[in-house]
């Protein structure tokens, strides 16, 4: 049994990667599953050469190619398995017919019955077998492959014929050239040695000229013959390789029955005893990209078709046994083990009849359990430990052999650790340690995202942070709008919000100062206005205005007082304008006038002093 297990593991590993290519795979497996586990101690090395995938039965973890994962954690696998469990058994008439066809083909191509006649018969069945949907057109592919091989043979025959005719031609040419060489002399040689030499040369030249086309054609013919030979070889090999590739593909796709069938066909076609898989060796470099893809891992395949055959048989047997044990366990209500057995069997021989023909009722029982365990796994995956906890309880009731210890342990650990971190976060929150708060919260969230306490704490914190953030946003917005008064109105909120941001605090302070300033100016102005001193009020507002020109209240006050102290304001404005125009005399006169209207005017006094020093400057 252990060797079978090992074998099944091997197959599974192949399957794992092949699933990525299989048409009805849901999605390629993403990153390796997150639950780390100890590297299995019994990682097999060297089986069949190379790094073989190995299952650690103790932890249900597989290692292969340095990657470690739990069989059952493969989400894709789980999904497929559930789908399978839900599906009806394939016991319909079509299914039966398909099985019978297969049986017949295998029988016709068995070594004892091998003959051209049977070959053709078997070959004829292929298309109709392909009409069965779950066949996934594989029989068609086989059919095509066979046809391709036959075509190649035809080609070879053609080439042979060609070569024969070429050989004939070659003979002809050889004879002709011999002849041309011999009868090239057309006249006596001249007496004169010089001219004789010349005449010799001329003669040679003539000869060459005559022989040239012959020789060249001969060369061509030889080349063609050689080339044809090579072509022939290549064709043969190509056909072989392509067929081999197909078989390997079928194996990788866990279509073990197809493998067996294809093997039989191959033997029938290439009955030259050469059943070495050449796929990887010579062609890896030369093959097209498509093939290369398919054969990414084929370096790890067994080297002979025979081996492949054996493996396929083994897989079939393994599945059978698995299903049997499944049924047995099911009776015993050991759903967990039953599910495991079934899932293993399914993983290996998904397409095998044993799996396909399993009654639904049986499957259903497992389905529930499987679903729940899948949910449990999902919950654990998403770290919804609460739900996981619930599921564990349910599973316990469902299956007698469900080991709740491990999941519970995981759950409890997660819960505790999360709570710990949360406590730390709380502490950090109260102490204002923002960094720690974030770290702890994050950790707690990572560990148990759906910790209800988390919601409560972070709710509080995040509300607070949220509020703070909102306040900060508002502050930034109002600041950008230069709506300082609004900031002033809400200053309590903003002071709290900017407590931990010194730069923003600085800005806030500036803003508040400005508004304060403006308020003070307004207050003073109001006081003065009450005493009937409109000019003084206006000045006060003007002073405030310079600091914060956009304040609507200041603007309003300014307009009001300008009307009330119209004469004075007019004097000041005119004075300022004159000053701008550098009409010092006029400006000074207007300032004096303003001062006369309102003796306490600082604006006027400043203006006068300024102009006086300007006028009196040397």
């Amino acid at each position: 049994m252990s060797s079978g297990l090992i074998l099944s593991v091997v197959l599974v590993s192949c399957v794992g990667s092949a699933w990525a290519q299989s048409p009805d795979a849901m999605s390629p497996p993403a990153s390796p599953p997150p639950t780390p586990a100890a590297a299995p101690a019994q990682a097999q090395k060297g089986f069949l050469g190379g790094d073989m995938p190995a299952l650690d039965p103790g932890s249900e973890v597989m290692t292969w190619d340095g990657k470690i994962w739990n069989i059952q954690d493969q989400r894709v696998f789980r999904a497929r398995f559930e789908k399978y469990l839900n599906a009806e058994e394939e016991s319909g008439a079509e299914a039966k017919k398909y099985r019978d066809q297969f049986k017949e083909m295998l029988d016709l191509l068995s070594p004892a019955k091998m003959s051209k006649e049977n070959f053709r018969k078997a070959w004829a069945i292929l298309p109709s077998a392909s009409s069965y949907e779950p066949d996934a057109e594989l029989c068609n592919s086989l059919d095509d492959a066979i046809f391709g091989v036959l075509l190649a043979q035809q080609e070879v025959t053609k080439i042979d014929d060609q070569n024969r005719s070429l050989a004939k031609r070659k003979d002809t040419l050889e004879w002709n050239s011999r002849f041309a060489a011999d009868s090239s002399l057309l006249g006596p040689a001249p007496k004169n040695p010089a001219t004789a030499e010349q005449w010799n040369r001329e003669q040679n030249l003539k000869r060459d000229m005559k022989m040239q086309p012959l020789l060249s054609e001969l060369g061509e013919v030889n080349a063609s013959i050689a080339g044809n030979r090579v072509k022939k070889e290549a064709l043969r090999l190509q056909a072989k390789i392509e067929f081999q590739v197909l078989i390997a593909q079928l194996f990788l796709q866990r279509r073990f029955e197809h493998v067996l069938l294809a093997n039989r066909f191959y033997r029938a076609l290439f009955g030259d005893g050469d059943n070495q898989l050449r796929v990887a060796d010579d062609y890896a470099a030369n093959q097209s990209a498509k093939n290369k893809e398919s054969f990414g891992d084929l370096a790890k395949l067994p080297k002979t078709l025979g081996q492949l055959d054996a493996l396929a048989n083994e897989a079939i047997r393994d599945v059978k046994e698995g299903v049997e044990s499944f049924s047995f366990l099911l009776e015993k209500s050991e759903l967990k083990s039953a599910a495991e057995r079934l899932s293993e069997a399914f993983a290996v021989g998904e397409y095998l009849p044993q799996i396909r023909l399993l009654p639904r009722t049986q499957k259903r029982e497992v389905l529930e359990f499987t679903r729940k365990s899948n949910q449990l796994l999902s919950a654990l995956e998403v770290k919804d430990y609460e739900r996981a906890g619930t599921l564990v309880k349910e599973l316990e009731t469902m299956s007698r052999d469900f080991d709740s210890a491990k999941p519970m342990a995981a759950i409890e650990t997660a819960r505790t650790v999360s709570a710990l971190h949360l406590a730390k976060a709380r502490a950090a929150a109260t102490s204002g340690d923002r960094a720690t708060l974030e770290t702890e919260l994050r950790t707690a969230t990572e560990i148990w995202p759906r910790n209800p306490a988390l919601a409560e704490v972070s709710g509080a914190i995040f509300t607070q942070t949220d509020v703070q953030q909102q306040a900060l946003n508002d502050f930034e917005r109002l600041h950008a709008q230069r709506n300082y008064r609004q900031i002033f109105e809400d200053k309590v909120r903003f002071i709290a919000a900017t407590a931990l941001h010194p730069d923003k605090q600085e800005k806030l302070k500036q803003v508040l100062d400005q508004v304060q300033h403006a308020e003070a100016a307004l207050l003073r102005a109001a006081e003065l206005a009450k005493r009937g001193d409109a000019a003084g009020a206006w000045e006060s507002v003007e002073r405030g205005f310079s600091g914060y020109p956009d304040d609507p209240k200041l603007n309003q006050a300014r307009a009001e007082f300008t009307t009330q102290a119209a004469e004075f304001v007019r004097s000041i404005r005119t004075a300022q304008e004159m000053e701008r125009k550098q009409q010092l005399g006029s400006s000074l006169a207007w300032y004096l006038r303003a001062q006369q209207d309102y003796p306490n005017s600082e604006v006027a006094q400043d203006g006068i002093a300024r102009l006086a020093s300007q006028i009196l400057a040397p």
């Binding site: 005119t574 550098q582 009409q583 010092l584 005399g585 006029s586 000074l588 006169a589 207007w590 004096l592 006038r593 001062q595 006369q596 006068i608 002093a609 006086a612 020093s613 006028i615 009196l616 400057a617 040397p618």
Partner: protein, 134 residues
């Protein structure tokens, strides 16, 4: 013809005397008016004009009469700058006057009433050319 012992003054003599007196007084008033207002012939400056556009009055000479109200500054080269309060059109107008160095000996105090001949200089400022207490 009245006897020497009985002389009387005729009324016409009184009339003539009165007329002569008035004429003499008037003549005196006219001739000595000059001292009262040495700048009598100079145009009086209208403060409203000056405030409106001093530049348009540049180069002109005017007379002003007012009370010194405050000192706005002084410099050894340029002289002293005062504010003179002028009454015109029932209003008080303060105007800046530059008293050049030539008058640096003059003790100018707040409350003094002066009559000045001023010239509007290039900067639009009133520069005192002559001044006397009024």
């Amino acid at each position: 013809m009245p006897r020497r012992a009985h002389q009387q003054t005729s009324p016409s003599l009184w009339l003539v005397a009165a007329i002569v007196l008035i004429v003499l007084a008037g003549a005196g008033a006219f001739f000595f008016q000059k001292e009262n207002n040495p700048y009598r012939t100079v145009e009086i400056l209208k403060p409203s004009d000056y405030l409106e556009n001093a530049n348009s009055l540049r180069g002109n000479t005017y007379q002003v009469e007012g009370v010194i109200s405050s000192s706005l500054g002084s410099s050894p080269e340029k002289g002293r700058l005062f504010s003179l309060r002028i009454s015109y059109a029932d209003k008080e107008w303060p105007l800046p006057i530059l008293v050049p160095r030539d008058y640096r000996e003059l003790n100018l105090q707040k409350g003094q009433r002066y009559r000045l001949k001023v010239r509007v200089n290039d900067g639009g400022l009133l520069e005192a050319e002559e001044m006397s207490k009024s």
